[in-house]
Amino acid sequence: MTAPLLSIRDLHLRMSSFDGRAHVLNGINLTVNRREIWGLVGESGCGKSLTGLSVSRLQPTPPAHYTAGEILLEGQDLLKLSPAQMQRLRGKRIGMIFQDPTTNLNPAFRIGEQLVDVALAAAEHDASVIGCPPSAGRRERRRAARKLAGEMLAHVGIPNALARLDDYPHQFSGGMRQRVLIAMALIGRPDLLIADEPTTALDVSVQAQILKLIKSSVDEYDMGVVLITHNLGVVAQTCSHVAVMYAGNIVESGPVAAVIGNPVHPYTRALMSAIPTRETKRGELRGLAGSVPNLITPPPGCRFAPRCQFALPACTAAMPASVPVGNDHSAACIRVAEMEALVHE
């Protein structure tokens, strides 16, 4: 069997700050195959963005410090690569989309030029991206890259794409800019796409279009996606798998239908009951008491224990291991087996 596209194994990340060292990723395990869309959900500060930034190695070290673990992209450990080797992977093998489309494009360059730059960089790794041989002249390669840029813009649904290559970022609306960024992420035909809250800054109607676009690109480009979001609704609509994070740990993961249809970790349950749905009656929304723990001095054992309604003394003894509860579905809680009975009490 071939190696999975992305395999994060027991990743530990510490961050130095003035107040001390925070243990921000505490043994992350995640495997993403091609054609899977993994949703990474959790509240602010749970480490979901750091996981994404670790995969693309965009987290500066220091202050970050990887104390253990590996990030394998088809068997190759990204943590062992030199900055130059890593730079060659970005844009070509790993594409990224960030949250804020207004700040991620250079306002001083036409978007066509920005797309062409990415395409040419990717072509150095794999000349087939722009469909012209490496021996071709500079001018010819640029022309091919520009043609590709136009095609990509049209592909992500920007009307009149060829003419708009010569526009500047400020001439696009937020949703259109996010499409440009998606085109930029896809132009090198990446194997892995990391989308960090790609729709948080957008209106719901635009959000729906962007998510549809990401979803349809997965099969077309045969890629794997890590979609970082705080919105479980987005996950339910878009993803095939989901990993729920809390304070630097993945507490529950598995296929979306299993995790959302049958959440077993108390945190996942709490998160879901905090979202108002059609059936929620006024005043009956269940918030989660307390707040996210301080990661410099995290609570002992299970980090969710202090806020958990089902916590036992044993919960604070040791970090619970992830146990399988079904097909690919696992949760890190010592009371997983009793959960169904507990909930009905």
């Binding site: 609704g233 959302i260 249809g261 979202i275």
Partner: protein, 277 residues
């Protein structure tokens, strides 16, 4: 006296085009003949996408923006016809909570100063002595689920949810009847959002407040509001009872918006693995 708290009658707002070095920009028709009524004690939701005119309408209700035509009446008083002194007195009764709790608290003021500031500004209307103000500040903090030990701290010491509670306490300080809530939970995490929404429900039941709730999150509006208006490009597209609009939207725009709403529904897929399966 009628039971209408807020009446917006045929309000339009046109921002004139500006003449700059690149020529004249076109004028913007931010609100087009907007009419709506908010009854006393209800929660009225205003939903729209960015650029739809939500903020212009909110600013007009506070009279921070003067409508080009039409009138806005709060408890029968026409804002456009009030003198400055009358307007100041009215503002004690209409308060607002802003979207971003990180930006709407002055970092150099203590919580005590923040909460008592409206009491000082509306001294003329409220007439509280210094001691009464201190008592009121402590009372307001406990009302929003915080304690007197927080009074002499500064905003940076609080989490987003707590800051939003401070903003709510400040808005309640002058004893308003109408509270404008401009996306009060969109900067917060879901678990904290749930706490703040529950607090808002509780405060309304306890104090008989009227809410004018602005949001782009339909799920939150459905949860909190009795009636809702959808606004698109400065025009009210549809308004009515929350249940009617969410269950049977009439306009194309409402259908589109409700259809685009990401809901946590179990997607169709392989059978769910049961516990211990």
């Amino acid at each position: 006296m009628s039971d209408i708290m807020l009446e917006i009658d045929n309000v339009s707002k046109i921002y004139p085009g500006r003449r700059g070095i690149f020529g004249k920009s076109a004028e913007v028709n931010a609100l087009k003949n907007v009419s709506l009524k908010v009854r006393k004690g209800e929660s009225f939701g205003l939903v729209g996408e960015s650029g739809s005119g939500k903020t212009t309408l909110t600013r007009s209700i506070l009279h921070l923006e003067t409508p080009t035509s039409g009138s806005i009446r709060v408890q029968g008083q026409d804002l456009g016809k009030l003198s400055d002194a009358e307007l100041r007195r009215l503002r004690a009764r209409v308060q607002i909570v802003f979207q971003d709790p990180y930006a709407s608290l002055n970092p150099r003021m203590s919580v005590y100063d923040i909460i008592t500031e409206p009491l000082v500004i509306h001294h003329e209307t409220l007439g509280l002595t210094g001691q009464q103000r201190s008592d009121r500040a402590a009372e307001l903090l406990s009302l929003v689920g915080m304690g007197p030990q927080h009074l002499h701290r500064y905003p940076h010491e609080f989490s987003g949810g707590q800051r939003q509670r401070i903003c709510i306490a400040r808005a309640l300080a002058s004893g308003p009847e109408l509270l404008l809530l401009d996306e009060p939970t969109s900067a917060l995490d879901v678990s904290v959002q749930a706490q703040v929404l529950n607090l808002l429900c509780e405060l309304q039941d306890r104090l008989g407040l009227t809410y004018f709730f602005i949001s782009h999150d339909l799920a939150v509006v459905r949860y909190l509001c009795d009636r809702v208006a959808l606004i698109n490009r400065g025009e009210i597209v549809e308004q009515g009872d929350c249940a009617d609009i969410f269950d049977a939207p009439k306009s194309e725009y409402a259908r589109m918006l409700i259809g685009a709403m990401p809901e946590v529904k179990v997607p169709a897929g392989p059978a769910n693995g049961g516990i211990g399966a």
